[in-house]
Each structure stands twice: as structure tokens, then as C-alpha cells.
Symmetry: C2
Subunit: 493 residues, 2 copies
């Protein structure tokens, strides 16, 4: 201060701390030599929680390589908090066996890790959260993260990240966005280090502490599926036609219509039917949301939707559209599905079309365990969208691989029946008794309604194998609802 007669404390302001020289740290690069250096920089200790995202899906190499370094360092008792775990993450089974990892939480777990958990190999119960519930748990501090490792298709040395460029471009990066705001440390792991600033910044440098450059973050072939196409299989097509008919009869398929549907053949075939109907009737929808495919992109480009809200791109057409079309918007896992006062996109869905491993006569849906009792999935966005959408439709065949899919009681409740409105099968359409209004509309439209108990009997009659639903034994996983309550427990197989 140039003025010597200044007080130590100024009323209405507080303590006056005089300027004593520019001590601002100038950060020119966050680049570390390797992952080992990231463990040092983040001071990772035994028992730490490391988070990962699943935008690279079954092509992801980052989770495996990060944990391999942990093991080499002799770390123990780590908690892997992933948004999803895939067959490519098989090495995690070894890290669990050797005590490097003793806790796992995720929105979805499939493949060898799921099997190992089901067989009781993981010391602590795995926690399966919905995508929105995971974002909520992070936001409120139920799931504290020590280090969020962000697999970055491209990054600059300051930590700005883009999903839109690089040989492993995956488009939108909605999932890590839920982690980075709360994680104690954030490390970007990239194989495409570009000069500052990375174009199309998806996650900016104020969210990232360190950058590590590696040879490859994954296998492009496992990251994106091929071209997404409607099913051509007759039973699937019949279910899709009926599903589209239910949506048309529901009264929701009017101007401003919004939709979420998955990337499966039946789901795409349903959207295909809807696209034709919307085109013929001149209906312009509002948005399609969730995981986005080239099929959604074509609907956007055909003017059938005003916008796409994309948490994760499923194919190359979606990645390209996301990089270039300003109406193809990204959203964080929080914006997508986090329950709470600020509202999620799932709350605005008119219709969601979802699958099921099993559905029971109370309309409870299991997408967590297989009919043999083994974990193979988890809610992901299933329970979130079912809770939010005005019309939640479950599509399934009556049986698969000899097991009944419409059952008396599901092996694991993933999505509570009270949030499910309609079941569509090749054997008929069942409406949740809570939705008398909807049943009336469908009946008026001449749709073949049946009682779900009848569908269950048909399925049981057609089944050749008995489902395994272990009801006691060690609890190997907890299925959490989006609010953190527990919908079900999964027992050891």
C-alpha cells in the first residue's frame, strides 16, 4: 500500500492484509512423467477411492493400467468407484484376489468382475448405484473420491479435455463430470496430448489437477459399436411395433414429444416406427436423451427432434454429430439423472423404452442379475428414467435361453414396479394397475391388453429352465435406488 496511515482492521471490511509481493504461482503445465508420478502427486494411500468413467466401454484400458500401477506400488484396500465395469476390466479380478482392491461400486458391472463378485471374491459388498444415484452420492458426500482418473481422448498440458478428437474419440463425457467437481484430485489420462488449448473443451482445466500421457487409452473397436440398426428378427419387430402403438395410443406422441430409448435392436426398431409415424403426422418432438446413436442423429437431422441431450455417444455417427451439430448437446450425469431440487432431464421424458432381464407381476424389473443368479448389469439409467418418464415401457420376450422373463418375483429388484407403466411382450401388453387411465387409452385404441399374471403363466409354461434366486448366503452386492435406499441385496452364487 502506498498509504502508510492504514489501519490493521477496517470496519465493514475486516483484517487488512497488505500486499507483500506477487506470490501468484504460475501454472504452465500439469504434465506428469507417468501414472506412478500421479500416485505421488495425489498422495494415494491404502484404502483410497479411485473413480473411473466408462465412455470407452469395452475398449477402456485406463482402469486396468491405473490399477496395475497401484499394485506395483503395493497399495492395498482400494475402492474402485467406476461409472460402469465391462468384460475388458478382467484384470480387476486379479487386483481383488491380491488385496489391491477390496471395494467396488458402479452403475453397471458385467463380465468376469461381475462373476467374481457373485462368487464372493470381493471382501466388501459391491454397491450398484443408478447413474443418477451415483451423481447424487458424489454430490452429497456419500461417495467421497480421492482421485478421479479421467480417460481423455484428447487433452492439453493444462488439463483441458475433449472427447471429440483423437483416435479414440468417444464424444460426450457426461459421466466424469459428476466426479470432477468433488474429487480431491483429478487426473486426466490421455494418448492424444495436443497444444493448449484443446479444441471443443468438454472438461476445463479448473477441474483437473494433473495430466498423464500414455501410449493408448484403449481399443477403438471396443469403444464404439458399429452402426446401430433396428432389429430384423420377427419377434423383436412385433414387440417394437406394439411398443410404438402403445406410445401412439398413450396420447403423448404430440408436438414436443421427448424420448429415451436404448441402443438395442428392438429399441431402435421402436424408434424407427415412431419416426415414420411422426413424419407422416407432421409431429416435431422436443428431444431425445441418454446414450445417443446414429439413429437419434438421423431423427434430429430429419427435424423430428429439436435437440439431442447426450450423456454418452454409442457410435461413430453420434460422435461426429456431437462434434459438429450445435443442437446435439452434451449433459453431465447429474443433469441427466441426479434426483433433487435442481431437476434432471429424466424428469422431462415423456417416454422411455427399457429392457429387462426379468420383470415380475408387481412390475418390478431386474436388470442386475441373470436368471442363474450371477450379477450381469445394474441399473445404469434404468431406474432413473423409469422414475422420471411419464410413460415407462418395458419390452421383453416371454422367455430367453429357456428361462422365463416374466416371473412371479424377480431375482433382484433394480427398478421398482411402481415406476413401470407398461410391459410389452410378444404374448401381449400388460398395463400396471396403477395406470387405469393408460389401460383405458390402450383399450380404446384396440391394443391387446392382458393381465401380467397371465403373461407370467405363459412364460412359465414356455420355460425349460428354473431361475436361480439365492435368498440366503453372503451378501455380495447392494442395489441402491437413486435416493440411496436399498432396493435389493444380491447373494453369493
Amino acid at each position: 500500500m502506498t498509504q502508510e496511515n492504514s489501519p490493521a482492521v477496517l470496519e465493514g471490511y475486516g483484517d487488512l492484509r497488505p500486499y507483500r509481493g506477487n506470490t501468484s504461482e504460475t501454472v504452465g503445465s500439469k504434465l506428469l512423467a507417468d501414472l506412478d508420478a500421479a500416485y505421488d502427486a495425489c498422495d494415494v494411500r491404502d484404502g483410497a477411492t479411485l473413480s473411473f468413467h466408462h465412455h470407452l466401454r469395452n475398449g477402456d484400458a485406463v482402469l486396468n493400467m491405473v490399477l496395475a500401477v497401484a499394485e506395483k506400488r503395493g497399495l492395498k484396500d482400494l475402492h474402485v468407484a467406476a461409472s460402469s465395469i465391462f468384460p475388458v476390466h478382467e484384470s480387476l479380478v486379479g487386483f481383488i484376489a491380491r488385496g489391491t482392491v477390496t471395494a467396488v461400486s458402479a452403475g453397471f458391472i458385467s463380465g468376469p468382475v461381475a462373476e467374481a463378485i457373485s462368487r464372493g471374491k470381493l471382501p466388501k459388498p459391491a454397491v450398484l448405484r443408478t447413474h443418477g444415484g451415483r451423481a447424487r452420492a458424489i454430490a452429497v458426500g456419500e461417495l467421497p473420491i480421492d482421485v478421479a482418473f479421467v480417460a481423455a481422448p484428447a487433452a492439453d498440458s493444462l488439463g483441458n479435455i475433449s472427447g471429440s478428437i483423437g483416435p479414440r474419440a468417444c464424444g460426450a463425457l457426461g459421466y466424469p463430470k459428476a466426479d470432477i467437481g468433488k474429487a480431491r484430485n483429478v487426473v486426466a489420462v490421455t494418448d492424444t496430448l495436443v497444444p493448449f488449448p484443446v479444441p471443443q473443451i468438454e472438461i476445463d482445466q479448473q477441474s483437473v489437477d494433473w495430466v498423464v500421457s500414455v501410449e493408448s487409452i484403449g481399443d477403438a473397436a471396443g469403444i464404439l459399436s458399429g452402426i446401430t440398426r433396428p432389429t430384423t428378427e420377427p419377434v423383436g419387430l412385433e414387440i417394437a411395433r406394439r411398443t410404438a402403438a402403445v406410445i401412439e395410443a398413450s396420447g403423448l406422441l404430440v408436438s414436443g414429444f421427448s424420448l429415451q430409448n436404448g441402443a438395442g435392436g428392438i429399441s431402435i426398431a421402436t424408434a424407427d416406427e415412431l419416426a415414420r409415424f411422426m413424419t407422416d403426422a407432421g409431429i416435431k418432438g422436443s428431444f431425445a436423451a441418454g446414450g445417443i446413436t446414429g439413429f437419434h442423429v438421423r431423427m434430429l437431422e430429419a427435424g423430428l427432434f429439436e435437440a439431442l441431450l447426450d450423456v454418452q455417444c454409442f457410435d461413430l455417427a453420434a460422435v461426429q454429430s456431437y462434434a459438429s451439430n450445435p443442437r446435439h448437446l452434451g449433459m453431465s450425469a447429474s443433469v441427466y439423472a441426479c434426483p433433487g431440487a435442481r431437476g434432471a432431464v429424466v424428469d422431462l421424458l415423456d417416454t422411455v423404452v427399457l429392457g429387462a432381464t426379468e420383470i415380475d407381476t408387481d412390475f418390478n424389473v431386474n436388470v442386475t442379475t441373470r436368471s442363474d443368479g450371477m450379477i450381469n448389469g445394474g441399473s445404469g439409467g434404468h431406474a432413473d428414467t423409469a422414475a422420471g418418464a411419464r410413460l415407462t415401457i418395458i419390452t421383453t420376450r416371454l422367455t430367453a435361453a429357456g428361462f422365463a422373463k416374466v416371473v412371479d418375483r424377480v431375482g433382484t429388484v433394480t427398478t421398482p414396479g411402481e415406476t413401470v407403466d407398461v410391459l410389452v411382450t410378444e404374448g401381449g401388453i400388460a398395463v400396471n394397475p396403477r395406470r387405469g387411465d393408460l389401460a383405458e387409452r390402450l383399450r380404446t385404441a384396440g391394443l391387446p391388453l392382458r393381465n401380467i399374471a397371465d403373461l407370467q403363466r405363459d412364460a412359465a409354461a414356455a420355460a425349460t429352465r428354473e431361475a436361480v434366486h439365492p435368498a440366503d448366503g453372503r451378501i455380495v452386492a447392494v442395489s441402491e435406488y437413486r435416493d440411496g435406499t436399498v432396493t435389493d441385496l444380491v447373494r453369493q452364487v
Copy 2:
């Protein structure tokens, strides 16, 4: 849970709270009837801190209308925490006089509010922060915000905000981004309510609690300046030519060069010179940052920069480019200038060209008070960029309106001299003695170097009026450095 034999507490997990029904709140709209309802919804009480941003600059109507409602409700003792305050905010003088507002903080204050503060009308000392210091103060909790009011050129009823559309489109919205993550409540105030989802989401719904639709958020003519053009005035042009020559001689003007310069005529003329040099020499710069003008856009489009990093658009050409060019990137005030471990864009600047109201023989710069002692400005990004850039150049004439601008001691220290490298005037170029390396380079290039004390004597000789630097009397404002220490105190006039 379907399994009755579940424990109350599960080892390795904790308390099991069974699912008891879907109680998820479905948020379909955050639209309130009016600003009055927003005060109710946010439970605003006497003494609350309300924040505002200045992207609508001298066309902003939101600050005035929000405070008018506060006064009507009888609220007292409010703290207005704005990113900047302009002449259009004159009504704030009345709100201060009547006790509705007793505290003001901002990055920049000009016009009647500045004059009222200088005359001692505000009960508490005003706090003038740098743009980066304001972001830091919010992030660390030094500046807690009760309600952040975000003037939104367009928004949807869920609170997604875009600056790129609507009759008062202003482009990038870097400043409110520093507020929304920490504010207890966030209210979007818009005159362009569009169906969900607003295209080109700049601030998403997970950051916003309420939306209020008003007739007009401001006067478009006051929001954007006209077309930004280089000065044509001879003394200014001479200063610009010398400034460009300093940058060329500095050794920094090579491939990957980065620049921040303001929207004034001399600053633009300097960039014009640089553009010519870069084109001739085939130099491709990295980025231009800060407040962005059509001149920067033309440099980007001419391939002279890889990217623009835009905290605020200054003209229509910038707004249009921001909406359509993926290499024209937005940045928050934090990414722009917040000091700290995660690094700011200012840290990566090769050169910043800044103005001065006064500069003294220690190279301290005053952009806070006029030569008559009256507040008229504040750091904004001045001290931030000076601290970060490798070469900080101050351009000024020796005198203006009869006052010397190179002085023995500045009226108010805004930017410490140790962060300033060169002064360029029509009377010569002075290099900070701390930068002997730079002086050597400029001398080698044949530039006319002078001692700053000589420039000060020339300025004093040419001056016809004596500056007023009140050294005692009531302290009406505190000038904070980016780290929260105090560079100077401003006394009542």
C-alpha cells in the same frame, strides 16, 4: 427389498435403508411468477449478498430491477457483489442512500455509483477485486453469495441458459460461472424463455434453482459496442507501432504466440500491426484471450491463432463467431484468471497489452481512480493478466486532460509494478529495471529506450493540472490483489 432376511447394518457397507417407495421429486419447471417470488423462494433477508454479472455491460437492466424489488420488500443492508458496475446502474445510488444496499463489491465500478462511493455515500468500504481474485474469493468462501442473479439472454424453464440467442445475445457468459457453483441460490432472469432445451447451453440446469421471465433484460445498444476498429489518431498509432515493435523485439512473437489485448483503439491498432507482421512472417499464434472482439475473430479466421478463449464478447462479430466457430471457446472467470494450483489462462499469456490511468516510476499502475481522486474503474483482469503474462506492456500517453499519466506515485495501486515489464508512450519506451534481459533485446532492436523517471519528468512538464490523491480521510474502498491482500486504500473525495 424382496429378501426379508436382510440385516439392518451390513459390514463393509453400513446402514441398510430399505426402499420404501419412489419419493423422487419430479422437477418439471423452475419458472416463478416474478422477481418478488424469487425473493420468497430464495428466502432473502436483510444483510444478504446478491451477485450479478456484467455481460450486458452498460445495457444491463437486471441489477436495477432486482434491487428495486428488494427495496419494495423493505429489505435493508444488502451487499451487491457484481462482477462490474456501469453508469447504467445509477439507481444503485438511490438504493444506497435509502439503506437498501450498504455494501458493494466488484471488479470494476464506473459512473454515478463510483462517484457516490468516492463521496462517502456507501456505509461500508467498497471492495474492488480483480476478476481472478473475485473468482478465488467465491471459491474459498471469502465472498459467500446468497443469491446469484444471472441475466440470461435465453433460458428454458428448467434453467438451462444460453448467451448466444435472443434479442440481447451477448455470447460467452464467463463471469456468472464463477458464482453459480457456490451461491446458495441461483436465479436466471431472462426475456427470452424458450422451450426446453435451450440450444447451446452455456450454464446448465444443475446450476440453477429458479427462472424468472421479464419483459427485457436490457438495452441491446448498451450491451455490445459497435464495430471495434484500430485508432486512426496519430499519437495513438505511434504508440501502437512502438508496442508492436516491442513485442517483435521481445523474442516472444514466434509460432505458438499468445496475446491478450483490450478493445480500445490503441490496443486494436497494436494487434493490427502484429497481424500484419505474423502474416508476413508466416507465424501462427496459439490463442488470444480475454474479452474478445471482431478483430480477434478476423485473426482467428485468418489462421493467425489456433483458438480464442473468450470470457466475454465485446461486439456482435464476436457473439456470432462464438455461436458458430468451434475454435472460439468460452471460459469461466476462474479458468481465465483465478490464481491457484489448477492454473489460469492468464498464466499462459505471452503478452498482454494494457492501459493505465496513471503509472508511476516503480511501474505501479492505477486503473482504479482518476487523477481527480474519484473511483472510475478497478482491476478487472488488469492485475491478473499482468501477473500471468511473460511480457506485460502498459501503453499510455504522457498526459491526458491536462493531467500527467506518468507520475511519481500513483493515486491508487491497482497492479503492482513488479508485474509490469514495459511502458510505451509517445515520449519513449521504458523497461522495468527488473527486466534487464528485455531491455537488452529492445536496445539491440534499436528501440528508443528511456528511463521511466525521465518520462515522468516530461509528463510533469507537459501537465497543466495537479492530480488529487487524498491520503487521509475516510477509507471508501479497498483495492484487493488477486490473492486477497490489499494493494491500496481509496479515500473519500
